[in-house]
Amino acid sequence: MSINRLKGGLIDHDAPLNFSFDGKKYEGRAGDTLASALLANGVRLMGRSFKYHRPRGVLSAGSEEPNALVELRTSARKEPNTRATGVELFDGLEAKSQNRVGSLAFDALGVNDLFQRFFAAGFYYKTFMWPAPFWEKVYEPMIRYAAGLGSISFQDDPDLYDKGFLHCDLLIVGAGPAGLAAALTAGRAGARVILAEEDYCLGGRLNAERQPLEDISGPEWVAKTQAELASMDNVRIMARTTIFGAFDHGVYGAVERAADHLGVPAADKPREVLWRIYSKKTLLCSGAIERPIAFEKNDRPGVMLAGAVRAYANRWAATAAEDVVVFTNNDDGHKTAGDLRAKGVNVPAVIDVRQGVSVAGETEILTGATIVDTKGRLGVKSVTVRLADGKTREIPCGAVAVSGGWNPNVGLTCHQNGRPAWNETIQAFGPGERLPVGQSVAGAANGDMSTHAALTGGAQGAVEALEALGISAKPAEVPAAEDAPVSITPYWHVAGAKRAWVDFQNDITVKDVKLAHQEGYRSVELLKRYTTMGMATDQGKTANVTGLAIMAELTGKPIPETGTTLFRPPYTPVAMGALAGRSVGKEFHPTRLTPSHKWAEEQGAAFVEVGNWMRAQYFPRKGETHWRQSVDREVLATRGSVGVCDVTTLGKIDVQGADAATFLNKIYANAFAKLPVGKVRYGLMLREDGIAYDDGTAARLAEDHFVVTTTTANAVLVYRNMEFARQCLYPELDVQLISTTEAWAQYAVAGPNARKLLQKIVDPAFDISNEAFPFMGCGEITVCGGLRARLFRISFSGELAYEIAVPTRYGDALMRRLMAEGKEFDVTPYGTEALGVMRIEKGHAAGAELNGTTTALNLGLGRMVSKKKDCIGNVLSEREGMAAPDGLALVGLRPLSSATIPAGSHLMAATGPIDAKHDQGYVTSAAYSPVLKTGIGLGFLKDGSNRMGETLRAVNPLEGGEVKVEVVSAHFVDPEGGRVRD
């Protein structure tokens, strides 16, 4: 039974909705929020406070809500910290209160309230200091258990989230009277308009007020206006959409809660959409937020903002109680009293702190009076009022409607470092002078508090914004509306209160502000950080101004001098799901597949992610139970006959132009100018600071045409740097670059039978014999009867080897052909593991050696760096420290036992201490060599070239253990390099 349900309002009294709160079943109406439905059902207690676990009820009727945070839904869709004031009721909604141990009415952590003096501002820093070991074992786990609001399901979110981009001439933030008048004006002028409203219906305060607009009600005018706007193709109305951030250059972030009002989103429809809105102009019509007055135990359920009480009565036909006392310092509080009475709610007293105020029709008005106490454990039962004559009177009531005045909602004006400015007339901060580019402010957000001022301000604001874009508009004619001036006497807190809350969400009382002042945290920024005022989900929307006004009072400075904290994005919390959009799970980043991927899958390959690429790691065969068995077999088969590996992922950059050779001479450390056509050369690239950063090959296909390869990891970076050199450093050179990594499928064909296999597919017109196509040769050929291809005789494995490239779309076919033709040689596909083992056996440097700290000298490639030419990095590569004679040098390492060497181990002398001071170097790569039948490793060793044969220890303090190793040449297999030339 809905005991506090009134008549009228904007809810559908004939459309009941069932929902539950903390397991108890209730009935609401279509158009209700969770908060209004609970109030209508007589539920005032909705949560427990953060620190003291005090019973709390709803304070507001909007997104500023600090108290009524609830958990919605169950299992994977469970969502904590949702403001009950913004939750659109749907049938079957399950909601739970948070931050309690036991039931909401009896919260075991309510004992915190008894120890409140220990939980004052800064209590973490003071209370839990001693004894020191208690911090980790007792205090921290205890605080972690007690802290935080709500809980998460730890299950994957089953819903879809999406992202989108929108462009407009004018973005209007908020669809209250100002926003609607602005939208009418701009829409009629033909401008592209987006009207965004966080509420699920348009109208803002017009839905919450009783005064008519000329001859019709507020909601009727809203409906009429909305109908006209909806008929305009150039106006996009976005309800349930919060503009949460104002970013650079007129870009705004918005989250549209497309399906939050449904139990489950429709199939394939997103639950929320994150929009990036590119606006030429923005008119902020975000209204105002009421502020409370701090008085003794003003946090009891039933103590609410007066404007919210009025909104619940007028819009949602709900009241928190049958008897509502009003406490105010301004005329707006009286409006609430009048509206409540009109709805049949009893208002036993209006307590106005101002002297000598009279309001027409007001009978029980107590002027010059304040509330000095409240009673009621789980909800307010009475207030104690100190009258002007000093006497006190206890007034029974179920709710208190408090109005301390209205603060313009200036959050979005601050996102580009704009600072709100004090407005004396309304005794509040309005927008400052420096607004985000293209933004202007209208209506209550601009300090124009009456409905009339909002309507005309919105229309005029749109005219001015469009004028700047060269669009002429006429202000929409607006209906006659309420135009009362703001009449307010600033009043922030009732003096003498022991526990009067300023920030409900963070449990900050007037006393905490005083403590901060007393301990020297007097600037508003320090006040915020010391007390945590204004943090957490509500960002202090109802608390900040009051807190700093109290600080101003304590320091004796006026409020504008005391200053104010700024608001940062997001305006209200944005779900992580919306920020992630579709970039979740496998879609987190794109997956790049090699041309042979499908074929490799058919072979049952194991894959490894390399950047975005999926590369075949090894190809297990029947009976192989351990990856090492597969890898050892692949290595031996390649070295014994022939193996094929997909190396498409290596970066490929096409370099063309008359000055191509000159250009490569600049970007490689070694000489390229004289490389003959038809030849490939290994190339090393340095950073300008002299550190080696990438290596690869450059093949000269013609006088003016090279193909450069890069490592897989650096493909993007090398291309970027080459473009930098081309455009910024050497603009005079006639050279063009393009990345062709995806354009060519490329396979390494390695092993003594590599040539024999290739001869079966290379068209007979092309002679690839050793004489005609020697080591480091290259050429454009055709294969398989006319398919264009490129052949490079280069070897990473140390075997007779080629890399053959065909246009990517033939990559799959070429792999299948190589396998079919290679049957007679028992051709073996090999993956990245075997590739790695063979390059370590051969002593070739890779990513682990080119690790961003090593020079050409370290790598044993010092002689490659040309002294005769100016190339990127060569000047600074000769700096004293980088060319030290006893510097690190690349060596081979061989264990003296059957153990393998853990990569990452550090090298220490055979005896002596193991510490950083005695560090001799480190192991970069390690593997088991099936050829040598022993573990092998590569590493950097101080003065390594002169220490062959020495015994060292490879130590691994992190995991424990050490291996005795011998320093050997890095070329374990075929050190003379005869095989590649066969």
Binding site: F247, D248, H249, G250, V251, Y278, Q416, V437, E688, D689, V716, R720, E723, F724, Q727, C728, L729, Y730, P731, E732, K869, D870, C871, N874, V875, L876, E878, R879
Partner: protein
């Protein structure tokens, strides 16, 4: 953030990669006297102005041109965007 690309008009900053101070265009020649000192200054010493700053952006998700963008580091206002190649040529790098 939006960058006014001189060829393509307003583009979202997400299409670009940032490098740093446009002074990197003015790479010294390798064969000059005190080359190590000059290169040290070129590579490591930067002004850090609160205000107008000329900086290099690469249109990596676009036409792959390097731009010199003049941006106010305090307000993020973009005053100018030029092709870095044009800037380099103006600085005499084409000779």
């Amino acid at each position: 953030m939006l960058i006014p690309h001189p060829l393509l008009g307003l583009r979202d900053a997400a299409e670009f990669t940032y490098l740093g101070d446009a002074a990197l265009i003015e790479r010294p020649e390798g064969d000059i006297e005190n080359a190590q000192d000059v290169f040290h200054n070129y590579l490591f010493l930067r002004d850090n102005p609160a205000g107008e700053h000329r900086e290099l952006w690469f249109h990596e998700q676009g036409d792959r041109s390097w731009l010199v963008v003049t941006r106010n580091t305090v307000t993020h206002e973009i005053i100018k965007a030029e092709l870095a190649r044009d800037v380099a040529i103006q600085k005499g790098r084409s000779t």
